[in-house]
């Protein structure tokens, strides 16, 4: 019988196997219960509510900017981890590794490009996300704290981008970081000390490179993931995504 050989038969058999069911405990048939379970029982999806407002799915509602920044974070994590396989945070190997990526490593240039362009896009998208939230008034109670988390995430994004900027150890990186850290120096009282701690010395050198590397690859990403998780969780807890202001929303005197 031909039917027995069709993929759906295989799929059917697989999805009924004990192994499959020990991992994924529910099916996704056309029932609300199952669809709810799909969200409830999935570690990665359970930050979502089971049901969302149909309006919230519309592009104009959020422009998906938060989702885009999350997708960019995923690209950055994936490409960043792969790039770490070839990167030595030392002088002058760091620069030579860029050349290795370019010339000998398969798709090395592509991955570096992905990482770089995503990082730029990330800064832009996170900023736009903030603007969107602001103009939609989505920082208002009860979402005040999530706005603060968002500001922290924006700062972290900038710091991640900035610490990553030094890692290729080329002229662009070196002087951008030199200029940037000299701005910190202007802080009264603490400026010199902060700069000294950040660079691990008084000049942008080997110590600065390893510090920026650790910040870029370990410390800041951990913090980012933690706070981003909190941020996304709060979106749900604060009543889901907030779209544009209703026509009458801002003129209601009663809000006073």
């Amino acid at each position: 019988m031909r039917i027995e050989l069709s993929p759906s038969v295989w799929w059917y058999a697989l999805s009924r196997s004990e192994l499959w069911r020990s991992i994924i405990r529910h099916g996704v048939t056309d029932s609300s219960r199952n669809r709810s379970l799909a969200i409830f029982q999935n570690f990665f999806l359970h930050m979502h509510p089971v049901k969302v407002r149909r309006k919230a799915l519309e592009v104009r509602h959020t422009y998906y900017l938060g989702g885009i920044s999350l997708a960019l974070t995923a690209i950055l994590a994936a490409s960043g981890i792969l790039l770490m396989f070839y990167y030595h945070p030392s002088v002058p190997e760091a620069y030579m590794d860029m050349k290795e990526l370019q010339f000998t490593v398969d798709i090395g240039t592509f991955l570096r490009n992905m990482h770089r362009w995503s990082a730029h896009a990330m800064v832009l998208v996170v900023f736009l996300h903030m603007l969107r939230v602001f103009y939609h008034g989505a920082f208002r109670p009860p979402r005040q704290f999530n706005w603060v988390l968002g500001v922290v995430l924006l700062t972290l994004t900038l710091l991640l981008s900035y610490t990553g900027y030094l890692l290729p150890w080329d002229q662009l990186a070196y002087w951008a970081v030199t200029v940037g850290t000299n701005m910190v120096r202007a802080t009264p009282v603490l400026g010199e000390r902060i700069r000294f701690l950040l660079l691990g010395g008084n000049i942008v050198g080997a110590n600065a490179l390893i510090r920026f590397y650790v910040l870029h690859c370990v410390a800041l990403p951990l913090l980012l993931v933690l706070i981003a998780a909190l941020h996304i969780w709060r979106v749900r807890k604060d009543g889901g995504v907030k779209g544009p202001l209703a026509e009458d929303e801002e003129t209601l005197e009663v809000y006073r």
Binding site: M96, K99, E100, Q102, F103, T104, D106, I107, F110, D170, Q171
Partner: protein
């Protein structure tokens, strides 16, 4: 509604798949794969056996590299595309697959040196454009092949670099034109130019001549070493006033003034003396002679007779560093020479009347001092009170490491933005970069410019590890210039102006003195010093006739015979026994068979290219003859005498024949010729 979403999802997934697949596809199409495929085809075609052809054809595509952790961790991937560099079967194959021509270091040392150290470019790269370094942000692009010898000079720092004629010539030119007088360079910190002292100017020169000379030295003397400065006319006046306002040194003034009172000599006799003394070995007169010393064709219009006479008597009194030897002329002979120089070697189109002495203006002279300092004249011409002046040009020591971004191209927007082009233009026409630049114009020939640029591009601060340092000259030879009494004699006769001793000395003579004691007999040397004669008529430079006194000749000959020895050259080729008659006869047959007489004179016949051998037995030591025959190119690669690859017996036989040729027909073998 949801059907639309489903279509979007399906399309999006397909685009997702396609775009993600593009990256590895782009990677798989990298250009080196194409080169490697083409190379395998070529190499298989030319492989000497079917087995090797199969082996090369089945080679996988991969990035090849030469990695030298001990040499600055260099990685050169040039061989990824240039795969045939060490494969002799690919000699003459089209680029980039060809075999690297054989040099001292290639292809034998390829694994130690890689490619980029000599050729430049970006060794890490695996694409043609990036590898050749012609892209932005790569500081060292491929070195143009005309300047390739610059790379030899980064390790071979001596004035003479073997197998690098252009580099050697460039370095000689830089010394000749006194680049190091204005520019500091590593290894040349103690350099001083050989320019004449200006301390006796009022007694020596005429102001009109100085004016013409300052305008363009090459117009007065095609061999002038002094470059053309762009001195403003007002500045020229001031400079002349300054030079003529300086009182001559008392010692020199008394010599010149004494000479002025002497009666004039006989110009005709002087001319004979001039020829006998072989002055044209160094000086040029009317197009003949060597250009290693000032041209004398118009010297009579330049210098006063009294100065010429005083100078010829004792050149080193005027300039302690002059390469000009002191000749032992009698007072009359010196007067004759001076008469010849000032009466015959002058510009006859000029009026012969005496120019009235120049009256310097003190205010202008003060201005002139500033001009003298401004153009750095003190760099070449020693001047009292200016010995501590800083060199006025920028240091050249790490010129080759300069980044293009740090070069000032000024008005020269026509130049390609490379270091080589910039240096080339600086050497050719320094004034073209910006108005007011002080560097003078040297008016070099194109080939000379190329040589100088090559030498300049070899001035790199980048060191090489010890194991890459070239082996210095053989330690069993003399390297030191003699000192003491003999040293004074060497200085008096300026032997080192023409002869090389160890690493110093001039290369005018083809006979280095380093191992002269192993080469010639003491007795011959002494007689030669007393009465030098032409050994090789084909060479324009001859040993000058110094009229040396017997004592000096004996001491120099003794010293050379005892000290200037090379221990690897045996003194006697026959181990103390006299050569056997059969050996002499066999040697004669070999001499005839090899056609030695096409270059050497023996008896009445023979060619003029090589030195005559009629008196070889008197002149040369037999050990030297044998040593020479083993490998004539041993000490200089441009020696024309062919290396016949003679066997030990043949060498001994030929040596037996040559070393028994004597001028004095005491030996019966000599008479048979």
């Amino acid at each position: 509604m949801t059907n639309r979403l489903r279509v979007v999802f399906a399309t999006s997934s397909v685009v997702f798949l396609v775009v993600l697949a593009a990256a590895p596809l782009k990677n798989a199409l990298r250009e080196y794969h194409g080169y490697q495929r083409e190379y395998r085809r070529l190499a298989a075609e030319r492989a000497p056996s079917a087995r090797l052809a199969r082996a090369v054809a089945s080679r996988p595509d991969r990035i090849e590299q030469i990695w030298n952790p001990g040499f600055g961790n260099r990685v050169d991937r040039c061989v990824t595309c240039h795969q045939g560099v060490s494969e002799p079967t690919l000699a003459g194959a089209p680029a980039p697959f060809g075999f690297h021509s054989e040099t001292a270091h290639t292809p034998v040392d390829l694994d130690q040196f890689g490619c980029v150290f000599c050729h430049g470019g970006q060794g890490l790269a695996t694409t043609a454009a990036e590898a050749h370094g012609l892209t932005r942000h790569w500081p060292t692009p491929l070195l143009p092949s005309v300047y390739l010898e610059a790379s030899c000079g980064r390790c071979h720092r001596g004035a003479q670099a073997s197998e690098a004629p252009r580099l050697s010539k460039g370095r000689q030119l830089m010394e000749r034109y006194a680049c190091y007088s204005c520019h500091l360079a590593r290894g040349y910190e103690a350099y001083t130019a050989e320019a004449p002292s200006l301390s006796a100017t009022p007694l020596k020169l005429r102001a009109s001549w100085v004016r013409a000379w300052l305008k363009d030295p090459k117009a007065l003397n095609a061999n002038a070493r002094m470059p053309r400065f762009r001195i403003e006319p007002g500045e020229t006046d001031a400079l002349i006033n300054y030079l003529f306002s300086r009182p001559p040194a008392v010692e020199l003034a008394s010599r010149i003034e004494a000479a002025a009172t002497e009666p004039p000599g006989d110009a005709a006799k002087g001319e004979v003396l001039f020829r006998e003394s072989r002055c044209i070995s160094c000086h040029t007169v009317e197009g003949k002679g060597n250009d290693s010393a000032p041209e004398l064709s118009l010297v009579g219009s330049k210098a006063s007779r009294a100065w010429l006479l005083a100078f010829v008597r004792d050149p080193s009194a005027f300039n302690p560093r002059t390469p000009m030897p002191a000749f032992d002329f009698t007072p009359e002979e010196a007067r004759d020479i001076a008469a010849y120089l000032s009466e015959e070697l002058r510009d006859f189109s000029e009026p012969a009347q005496q120019e009235s002495p120049f009256q310097p203006n003190q205010r202008l002279a003060e201005e002139g001092r500033k001009v003298f300092l401004k153009y750095g004249c003190f760099g070449c011409h020693p001047m009292e009170g200016m010995s501590g002046q800083e060199k006025i040009g920028p240091e050249l020591s790490a010129l080759a490491d300069k980044k293009v971004s740090s070069l000032d191209f000024g008005r020269r927007s026509d130049l390609p933005k490379t270091l080589a082009a910039w240096v080339g233009a600086k050497v050719t026409e320094p004034s073209s970069f910006a108005p007011g630049l002080k560097m003078p114009t040297f008016s070099l020939q194109t080939e000379e410019v190329t040589s100088v640029v090559t030498a300049l591009l070899s001035l790199s601060g980048e060191g090489v590890p010890d194991e890459y340092q070239p082996i210095s000259a053989s330690p069993n030879r003399v390297t030191a210039v003699p000192a003491g009494d003999v040293g004074r004699l060497f200085d008096r006769y300026r032997c080192l102006s023409c002869h090389i001793v160890g690493a110093s000395g001039g290369d005018i003579s083809t006979a280095p003195l380093t191992f002269e004691g192993s080469k010639v007999t003491r007795d011959w040397l002494e007689s030669y010093l007393l009465t030098p004669y032409t050994i090789r008529g084909i060479l324009p430079e001859r040993m000058p006739f110094f009229r040396m006194n017997a004592g000096d000749a004996k001491r120099i000959a003794d010293y050379i015979a005892d000290v200037f020895l090379d221990d690897s050259i045996p003194s006697d080729a026959f181990g103390g026994r006299p050569p056997a008659q059969e050996e002499v006869a066999a040697g004669e047959r070999t001499y005839t068979r090899l056609g030695c007489n096409s270059c050497h004179i023996l008896g009445q016949a023979g060619g003029y290219y090589g030195p005559p051998l009629s008196d070889a037995g008197d002149r040369l030591k037999s050990g030297w003859i044998a040593y020479w025959l083993e490998n004539p190119q041993r000490w200089r690669e441009d020696v024309r005498c062919p290396n016949y690859g003679l066997s030990r017996e043949q060498i001994v036989e030929l040596t037996a024949f040559v070393s028994t040729r004597h001028k004095i027909a005491a030996d019966p073998a000599a008479g048979s010729q």
